[in-house]
Symmetry: D2
Subunit: 143 residues, 4 copies
Amino acid sequence: MDSRRAEAASRTFVLPIRVYLEDTDAQGVVYNASYFRFMERARTEWLRAQGVDHDRLRQEHGIALVLASIEAKFKAPARLSDVLYVSAEMIGASGARVVFEQKVRRGGEDGQLVCQGRAEVACMDAALGKPRRIPATLTSEGK
Amino acid sequence: MDSRRAEAASRTFVLPIRVYLEDTDAQGVVYNASYFRFMERARTEWLRAQGVDHDRLRQEHGIALVLASIEAKFKAPARLSDVLYVSAEMIGASGARVVFEQKVRRGGEDGQLVCQGRAEVACMDAALGKPRRIPATLTSEGK
Amino acid sequence: MDSRRAEAASRTFVLPIRVYLEDTDAQGVVYNASYFRFMERARTEWLRAQGVDHDRLRQEHGIALVLASIEAKFKAPARLSDVLYVSAEMIGASGARVVFEQKVRRGGEDGQLVCQGRAEVACMDAALGKPRRIPATLTSEGK
Amino acid sequence: MDSRRAEAASRTFVLPIRVYLEDTDAQGVVYNASYFRFMERARTEWLRAQGVDHDRLRQEHGIALVLASIEAKFKAPARLSDVLYVSAEMIGASGARVVFEQKVRRGGEDGQLVCQGRAEVACMDAALGKPRRIPATLTSEGK
């Protein structure tokens, strides 16, 4: 694998998530807000794959990551007992913002597209509550 | 109030929602997916204000309303014990789709804007699972 | 109303809660963990009815209320669009513990019993993380 | 491993669960209702380990498993990023009821006890809505 592919791979994380009763609703499908929980789990694991988590960012860098905006397009329903593959791919970073593309697929990493999302995360100075430049460890610049 | 303002008013519903522990997270603020639960509550109450609910739509019209897409921009944090005013305003309807603009304000109907959303709801034939024209009772056309 | 009945009334709070999609699951009924969210909302409103909330308790008394144990017996299912009446009644207090009996009824304050709960709340010193005597404002002793 | 130990092992399932923001609250710890979601996940995986799931039980046996009662004692707080080990152990079965003991431990299968639960599940005839004898495949009797 050449370094460019390796870098691209490091920018994507895929988390398998089993659908439990808690995630579904009386229409018999996964409830819409559940997808936002799933996408947040995938972004958190993407972060952990970069070697940091929310606590370390706060303690070592004085940084809090805050969701600035998110959108989701629902393409197909998912149901109880499905295994969903939820990805977080960093597709851009500039100044104090990181943008993730997120896909939820069913039954496999190349399975049916259930939901497509886009999340914009702001990097905040935890003490001052103001936007702050993203640390290089979170973007490819530092690698 | 002239009929045009009355019609506009009937297209907007504002639901006050108290923030409980369940809605918050360890960052001390309202968790992002909670806003999608709040916005769905407001759309449901908007529907009820039109004289229908999910059950009646299914039983009397054979229709299921399904969220096609939703987006939210987070403008300011909300916290435990806050009272949020969550609006659902129908800003468009064509064919099988209804579009809602949704605002979450804090402390009053004209309070600080906490979150701004936009939801696109698809009207589906519950038996066939295919898009179906929105019944006139849900839009101003029928009034 | 004599003072004894007034005191008993002040020990009970009943909160009406509409069931939304978020509260239900694919079995078509209210999901079990939702009842624990509902009961916590009722305990919080009970607290507010005593003139305090979580923030004031922490800031003015240095106290955090923490759930020590809870149990629920599910008597009948509740469904989408139901209005549930969720009560919190303080049935005992000693040392650092307060015990609540909680009932979830459907359709009215005297409606069908859906769920019966019992919650034991511990009063903790927020700074020391140790049990602390309940302030008299939370029990009838102070009235 | 002799057959008695094997049988005991088959009666216990332990599911590791990462704590995400969605599971926590503004007190900085795992929110109480989250433990009921976690315990339900572990009971569902216990069921799957017996070779069945909710759908198969309904379709092949005409059975719905319904939570009759549950209790939890909270022993210690858990926090964001913790890995919890949530067990479901069948400790009794008679007639239409199965009883599970459930433990939530932190950091390992022998880690600190965070929460101790007990769940009573009723086996219902899905069509008639009446209690029905548990199928032998769910208890050791059938093995």
